[in-house]
């Protein structure tokens, strides 16, 4: 065991990046070193926590000794651990990439914001009560908006503004829902609210408000309008962070609410959400196919892939933990693959000076690592074996066929075909000749290795499926009720 008292570790996940953020702000040089060191430390901490989780089971920790309702409780179970691990791994890749990507002036803004974002996301995944989730959600949103705007170009600023307005609207809606629930139950603890009878009109109103807020943040069709602009106009590592991580936090909260707080109400709208998810998959994929620029293609791919999470929701009523597990697997696989794709697209942009797909001239031989990263990430996005994307898709297909839900099965399959169209649209131009438009510039090695490692991770996830599913099951997060033993 570590020399630090075991009780302190979850807090360190928040404190370390926070301190790192401040240091990065104050320092005048070596920001990247601090950043990467912090993120590496974060990964180590997460590893240690997972080890402890598997040994002793889920547990709860009250920050500063002040328990709820006045203090803040941090809770760790299999689901939080998995999300923390996802964040830690992808963050490491993004940080390594960013160390080489940003100039010194840009780094001045990037690292403090990025570490703040990491702290906020860690805090979110460790939170267990509704209000703390609100605070951390806002923090994540603000940091993400600032990072989006950081590039300073006109399209980034406009997209960031739209993103900010949307995300604040979402938060306000969510908070109003929390207020209504609090008045009814007297607590913001999710499990307690789930166990307490709430007058149906209040529950329905609260659920509607919170769901709308979270759906805005998770960009489910038709609330996706802000995403393509924001994700494509940000700098490459920021785009990676937005698509891989930021957009998932809203879904995570929705998942927790679905299981703990509103199971009955949620099942009623599962069909609607499934339908919207299906539309997102098909429409997002079609839009991706039509794009001329690589980053827009990848951004629309995110819209489509997010749709899969919602597409599967009608299956959870009968499928339970198995379906939730498959969904989380898809979330993980997407995080790894999409971060890799955005970073690889960033490499293309840096190399050729543009990201027009048609004019990419045989990039594969001059940036083979980037091409490999795109290829492997594409395999996961398409849901081809072996990859995390394939495992999730198989499990969902299995569940939908077992439940006789043919529309979902067909959308899953069709989505894979459409994904193949847009992935290969990008890849084929990498193999074949286009119109060279100028002198290519060399891309740093780190910038090529980072996406490749993450893409390999997405493939490796295909072989680690059972391990991840076992980790997820610790603490039975998909069954309502309290399970900690602390």
């Amino acid at each position: 065991m570590s020399i630090v008292s075991p009780l302190v570790q979850p807090v360190l996940l928040i404190a370390l990046p926070l301190v790192g953020s401040i240091m990065a702000f104050l320092l005048s040089s070596r920001r990247a070193t601090v950043g990467v060191a912090v993120v590496a430390g974060n990964l180590g901490l997460v590893g240690g926590l997972i080890g402890r989780l598997c040994a002793t089971g889920p547990w709860q920790h009250s920050v500063g000794g002040w328990g709820a309702p006045l203090g803040i409780d941090l809770y760790l179970d299999g689901l939080s651990a998995t999300m923390l691990a996802m964040t830690a791994l992808v963050s490491l890749g993004i940080s390594a990439y960013s160390a080489a990507y940003f100039s010194a002036t840009a780094a001045r803004h990037f690292w403090p914001l990025w570490l703040l974002l990491l702290a906020a996301m860690n805090a979110l995944f460790l939170s267990r009560d509704l209000f703390n989730l609100y605070v951390t959600l806002e923090l994540v949103g603000i940091a993400a908006v600032a990072l989006t705007a950081m590039r300073g170009q006109r399209d980034a600023l406009v997209a960031a503004m739209r993103y900010l307005l949307t995300t604040l609207l979402g938060s306000m809606s969510y908070l109003l829902g929390v207020a209504l629930l609090y008045h009814s139950v007297g607590s913001v603890d999710m499990v307690l609210i789930g166990e307490t009878p709430v007058p149906p009109p209040v529950a329905a109103a609260a659920f509607a408000l919170m769901a709308v807020g979270l759906l805005l943040k998770t960009a489910l069709f038709p609330f996706h309008f802000w995403l393509p602009g924001a994700h494509s106009s940000a700098s490459a590592p920021v785009s990676a962070a937005l698509s891989a991580l930021v957009v998932k936090v809203g879904f995570y909260i929705l998942l927790r609410l679905w299981i703990e707080v509103f199971p009955a109400l949620a099942d009623e709208i599962a069909g609607l959400l499934g339908f919207l998810g299906g539309v997102a998959v098909l429409w997002g994929s079609l839009q991706a196919i039509l794009q001329q620029r690589a980053k827009m293609l990848v951004a629309y791919s995110t819209v489509a892939q997010l749709g899969y999470f919602f597409l599967a929701l009608p299956l959870v009523a009968a499928g339970g933990s198995r379906v939730w597990g498959a969904i989380v697997l898809l979330v993980l696989a997407h995080a790894l693959a999409k971060a890799a794709m955005f970073m690889a697209a960033g490499n293309l942009l840096a190399f050729a000076g543009h990201d027009r797909i048609r004019d990419l001239d045989r990039v594969v031989q001059r940036m083979p690592l980037t091409a490999a990263a795109l290829g492997l990430a594409g395999v996961s996005i398409m849901g081809l074996p072996p990859s995390g994307g394939f495992s999730g898709k198989w499990l969902l297909l299995q569940a939908s066929l077992e439940q006789g839900n043919w529309p979902i099965a067909l959308v899953l399959l069709l989505g894979g075909v459409l994904a193949a169209v847009y992935v290969f649209k990008l890849l084929e131009h990498i193999f074949t000749s286009g119109t060279p438009t100028g002198e290519p510039r060399a891309v740093a090695r780190t910038m090529e290795w980072a996406p490749l490692m993450l893409a390999i991770g997405a493939i490796a996830l295909g072989f680690l499926t059972t391990t991840v599913l076992d980790l997820l099951a610790v603490g039975e997060p998909f069954v309502p009720g309290r399970r900690d033993d602390y």
Partner: protein, 100 residues
């Protein structure tokens, strides 16, 4: 109707007034103000509904204070960003798609 319930209704009303303005107004400054008003509406609801039994519950008050801090930070960011957008595009309105 008790004063508390009246305040709560006012809060919800503020929320929807802000929502309407957010959707309808094009200029960024009123939209940011609209978000602030929505936030204030939620805070009013929280405080108004704080009396759950004979004692007043301090937790919603704590939530409101936290919320105000968050809202201030968000507003600061929004205003600064609005200025940057206006500087870059020459207008303080968001062009093309994107609404609500």
């Amino acid at each position: 109707m008790t004063p508390a319930q009246l305040y709560a209704l006012v809060g919800i009303g503020l929320f929807f007034v802000g929502l309407y303005a957010l959707g309808v107004r094009r200029h960024l400054l009123p939209r940011i103000l609209a978000l602030n008003i929505m936030g204030s509406g939620v805070f009013v609801v929280l405080v108004a509904l704080a009396r759950r039994s004979s004692e007043v519950d301090p937790v919603p008050h704590a939530m409101v204070i936290t919320g105000i801090v968050v809202a201030v930070s968000a507003t600061a960011l929004a205003l600064r960003l609005m200025l940057r957008v206006a500087h870059a595009t020459g207008s303080a309105q968001l062009t093309d798609t994107g609404d609500d």
